[in-house]
Amino acid sequence: MLETKQNPTYKLELTSSPHIHSRWSTMQAMWLVVIAIIPTVIASVLFFGFYQLLIILVSVGFALGTEAAIKAMRKREITIKDGSGLITGLLLGLIVPPNFSLSSTALGAIVAVAIGKEVFGGLGYNIFNPALVGRAFLQAAFPVPMTTWAQPNFAADGISSATPLSAFKFDSIITNNQSLVLGNIGGSLGETSAIAVLIGGIFLIAIGVVNWRIPVSTILSLFLFASLFHTIDSVKYATPMFHLFAGGFLFGTFFMATEWVTSPLTAKGMWIYGIGISLILILIRIFGGLPEGVMYSILLMNGFVPLINKFTRPKTFGKVK
C-alpha cells in the first residue's frame, strides 16, 4: 500500500469513458485540416487569379472576428485559437464563385459563424455545417451573383464560363475528364480542381484526422447510383466519372461531410450517412431543378445525424435483449 503511494507509476487511473483517445487534439486536427486545404487554395488562385486570395482572407477574417465578438458578448473565453472559425472561413471562401463580391463574402462569413455555429452554443453544438449554412444563406440572398461563374485562366473556349454540371444539364455539353480532374473549368473557387481536393483529402485520411468511411461510402454509392442511371440511358444521364469529378462533390465529401461535429459517431452510421448524401445528391442532379446539390444534400443529412446516431447505437457489451 505504502509502496504504491510513493511510486506514482503504479497509480491506478480511474476515469469515466471514453478510454480511447484520438491521436490529435482538436487544435492540432484543425491545423492539419488547414494544411490539407492549402493545395485547393493554390489551385483556385492558379485558375482564377489573385483576387480569390482576397475573398478567402476576407472570409477568414470575418469568421474569426464574428466568433471573437460573440464570445466577448456572451462573456465566454475567446476560443478563436482552436482553429474552427479559421476552417469555417476558409471553407466558405472556397465555396463561393470566383470574383464574388467581398462585402457579400463577409456577410456569408458572419452568418456562417453566428447563425451556423454560435446560436447553438459554439463549437461542438452545431447541427449543421457552419460554412454550408453561410453558403445556403448567400445562395438564397444573392441568387444571381452566386451562380455567375468566371472563366478560368486557361480556358480553351467560351463555354467554360458555365459549370460543367449546368452545361450538361441545360445544354447537354459534356466536359472532358482531363479538365475536370485538373480544375480548368467554371465553378466555385475550391471545387473545380479534383486533383487538389484529392491530395488534401487523402492526406487527411492517411493521418487519421477524418474517418475514411464517409468519403469512401459517398464516393462508392455515388458511383453506383450514377452507373445505374448511365446504363439505363447513356445519352440522357452523364457518366459516373463525370458525376464524381464535376461540381463540388469531392470538396464536399472530403472537407464538409466529414466535419466531426455534424457527422455520425458509429461506423454503421457513417455508411448510412454517406449513402444518404449521394442518394439526395443524385436525385437533385438528375431530377431536380438545380444543376448541383452537394450543399443541400450534406445539410439535409446533417439534420438526420442525431437520428442515425440513435438507431446505430452499439449494443452494450453482454446485454441481452
Binding site: S101, S103, S104, I115, V119, F137, A140, A141, F142, P143
Partner: protein, 218 residues
C-alpha cells in the same frame, strides 16, 4: 374585485409581458407569412385587432348564455362574422392590400390569438375588461408584426413603408423576403427578447441579495 389587476395592467401585459408572438408564440402562421413588408404587417395586425376586439366584446356579453359544450363553435361563429366584415371591407377599400395579404385575411378565423383570448379571458371577464385586454393583445401583435415586417423590408428590399432607407449600392438580401428570412428574423428576435428577460431577472435577483445583505449587516 380588489384582487383583479388594474385596467392599465390588463392593457400593458399584451404589449410585452404576455406578447402574443414573442411570449405566447401564438398566431405565428400569419406572422411568418405576411411580414414581407412593414405595411403588410401593419394591415394584418390591424385587421386581427379589429376582429379580436369585437369578438371579445360579443363573447364577453353573451358568456353566460353559451353552454360550455358548444362554446368553441360559438366563438368561431362570432369570430367568423367579424372576419367576413374585415375581408369584404378590405376587398372594397384596399384591393391591393387585400390581394397581397391573400388567404391570410380569411384565415384570421383560425388565428390562435383570437380563440385563445376568448377562451382564456373574454369568457371569464366583464365586457369592458375584455375589450381592454383585446386592445392590449392586438397592440402587442401589431408591435411584433411591425418590427418583423420592417426588419425584413429593410434588409430584403432596402426600403421601409416604401421609402428608400438603404444607400444605393446596397444589394438587397433576397432571403429576407423569402420564408427562410421570416424564420431567421423571428428566431433571432425571440432570442433577443429572451436574453433581455433573463438578463433583467438576474439583475433583480442580485438586487434582492444586495438588499438582504444590507439588512443583515444593520
Amino acid at each position: 374585485m380588489s384582487s383583479k389587476p388594474s385596467l392599465s395592467n390588463e392593457f400593458v401585459k399584451g404589449l410585452w409581458e404576455n406578447n402574443p408572438i414573442f411570449k405566447q408564440v401564438l398566431g405565428t402562421c400569419p406572422t411568418l407569412a405576411v411580414t414581407v413588408s412593414a405595411i403588410n404587417g401593419i394591415a394584418m395586425a390591424l385587421a386581427t385587432t379589429f376582429v379580436l376586439v369585437f369578438s371579445s366584446l360579443i363573447v364577453s356579453l353573451v358568456r353566460k348564455l353559451i353552454p360550455t359544450q358548444v362554446r368553441i363553435a360559438s366563438y368561431i361563429l362570432i369570430i367568423a362574422t367579424f372576419v367576413t366584415i374585415v375581408d369584404l371591407v378590405m376587398k372594397a377599400q384596399f384591393p391591393e392590400l387585400s390581394k397581397s395579404l391573400g388567404p391570410y385575411i380569411p384565415l384570421i378565423v383560425v388565428n390562435c390569438i383570437i380563440l385563445g383570448r376568448q377562451e382564456a379571458f373574454a369568457s371569464k371577464n366583464s365586457p369592458f375588461r375584455s375589450v381592454i385586454d383585446a386592445l392590449g393583445m392586438g397592440s402587442g401583435f401589431l408591435l411584433a408584426l411591425f418590427v418583423l415586417g420592417s426588419l425584413r423590408e429593410i434588409f430584403g428590399s432596402g426600403t421601409i413603408l416604401g421609402l428608400q432607407v438603404m444607400p444605393n449600392f446596397y444589394e438587397p438580401w433576397l432571403i429576407m423576403i423569402l420564408p427562410a428570412g421570416a424564420f431567421l428574423t423571428l428566431g433571432l428576435l425571440m432570442g433577443l427578447s429572451n436574453f433581455y428577460v433573463t438578463h433583467k431577472k438576474k439583475i433583480e435577483k442580485e438586487n434582492i441579495i444586495q438588499e438582504y445583505l444590507k439588512i443583515k449587516a444593520t
